[in-house]
Amino acid sequence: MDERQLIERAIRGDARAFNDLMSAQEKRMYAVAMRMFGNREDAEDCLQDAMLRIFRSISGFKFQSSFSTWVYRVTMNTCLDELRKRKNRPNTSLDGLLDAGWMPADAQDTPEQHALRAEVRGSVYGFIRELPEDMRAAVVLRDIQGLSYEDIAQALDTNVGTVKSRISRGREKLREKIMAKSELFDRYGV
């Protein structure tokens, strides 16, 4: 069954079709949530909330954008709603940030190199989480999730000019923070 058929069945209330449909989306949704919150617990809660929102509102999907763009939009709105509710302060817990930066060890890495990679990635996640929410959302969708500017504009319900502006300023701030921690990043190398 292709994606469109699954969507149409899910719209008619077929929970099994919905689960099959969303199995192909959950990894990207989870990645977005992890990068917005920086810890597993919040990311898993956000994933569940976003799945429920999608289930409740899928009848409103009119095939005017790609399904994955629409899913990104709902996921990001769920993240932003929760962050705004909390008046989020950056979680400076290194453990949480290491969660967000974790990845399986590269076979060529020594344990020290693997630890350095994790620390660098954790730092960058921390920098991302210090960005204002709208800027953070745009940078995550562009530089990590790899969406086009047009898709990001749809996902964030704004225009391409605003997206470019937010991403440009967000990247500028990240560069400043990396320069301020040059000792760590110089060990990481380029």
């Binding site: 429920l52 289930f55 800027m135 502006s165 440009s168 380029v190």
Partner: protein, 277 residues
């Protein structure tokens, strides 16, 4: 290229759109500018980190199980019987019918109270329905119908008294809207600064985000003058943030104005007049 152009080249590098010639000019410039060389290095480090971040992450099995269970439970929820919603709609309809079939048409203050109460009851019913999880669209429509019914019932009461009640409500609503408008600090000195920019829309978007970041209010009015795109940006800022805000905006100005043209002397209410080149 020069230092002020570096950021756009670094963005293009991250986007993968930098040409070989442009990369060469970036490297040439950075060989002669230590500050830009640091920025370029940081950009390359950032690119490397981003490249190692996969767009997908495996969802832990317990989390997978939890969201699937939540969706299954949601699918099983009785859309067929929703007692709170039914109760709310019934209450709204009773009020609406009561207003329609009143023995005497209430006048004056009674009419105002009735119209307000009818509206409030229907609003409460609608509000109730919207606070419920997973109310299907048809239930929202039924609640909307109850509100329309209530509106109609209120309007059927003495029209002269109704007009007075509506005017009073509109005045209250207007005051509420006015309270939510960006504060233009009426009576406070407003610092007016003219800027010539390459792209008015882009600079307006930047200013909107920047104002939010600096905890300010902004109101933007676009207009044309002699065929050139222009905009008035009315901005109110906390005093501590105004200098930094203007310093950031100054970078877009191509008018050749000196740096001190963007200094603030305690002003927190700004009018930036943008004009395209």
């Amino acid at each position: 290229m020069n230092c002020t152009q570096l950021d756009q080249y670094l963005d293009a590098m991250l986007d993968g759109t930098l040409t070989a010639d442009e990369l060469s000019s970036v490297d040439d410039h950075c060989q002669g500018c230590a500050a830009c060389a640091e920025k370029l290095k940081a950009n390359r480090q950032m690119m490397r980190v981003f490249a190692e971040m996969a767009p997908e992450m495996d969802v832990p099995l317990p989390a997978q199980a939890r969201w699937r269970e939540a969706v299954r439970n949601e699918a099983r929820r009785p859309a067929r019987l929703n007692f709170r919603l039914i109760g709310g709609i019934a209450a709204a309809l009773v009020v609406a019918l009561g207003a329609t079939f009143a023995l005497k048409a209430p006048a004056g203050d009674d009419a105002k109270m009735l119209s307000v109460r009818t509206e409030q009851s229907a609003d409460a019913a609608l509000s109730d329905s919207r606070t419920l999880d997973a109310a299907p669209a048809m239930e929202f429509e039924a609640a909307d119908d109850a509100l329309i019914e209530a509106d109609g019932a209120a309007e059927s009461v003495n029209m002269a008294e109704e007009d007075e009640a509506v005017q009073e409500a509109e005045a209250v609503e207007f005051a509420a809207e006015a309270a939510n408008l960006p504060v233009k600090s009426v009576g406070a000195p407003m610092r007016e600064i003219g800027m010539v920019v390459d792209d008015v829309n882009r600079v307006c978007d930047y200013a909107r985000d920047l104002a939010q970041e600096y905890e300010g209010d902004i109101d933007i009015q676009h207009f044309d003058e002699d065929g050139a795109a222009c905009a008035n940006l009315y901005i109110d800022l906390p005093a501590a943030n105004a200098p930094e805000f203007l310093e950031a905006m100054r970078h877009f100005d191509h008018s050749g104005a000196p740096a001190d043209a963007f200094d603030v002397d305690g002003e927190t209410s700004l009018l930036l007049v943008l004009r395209s080149e």
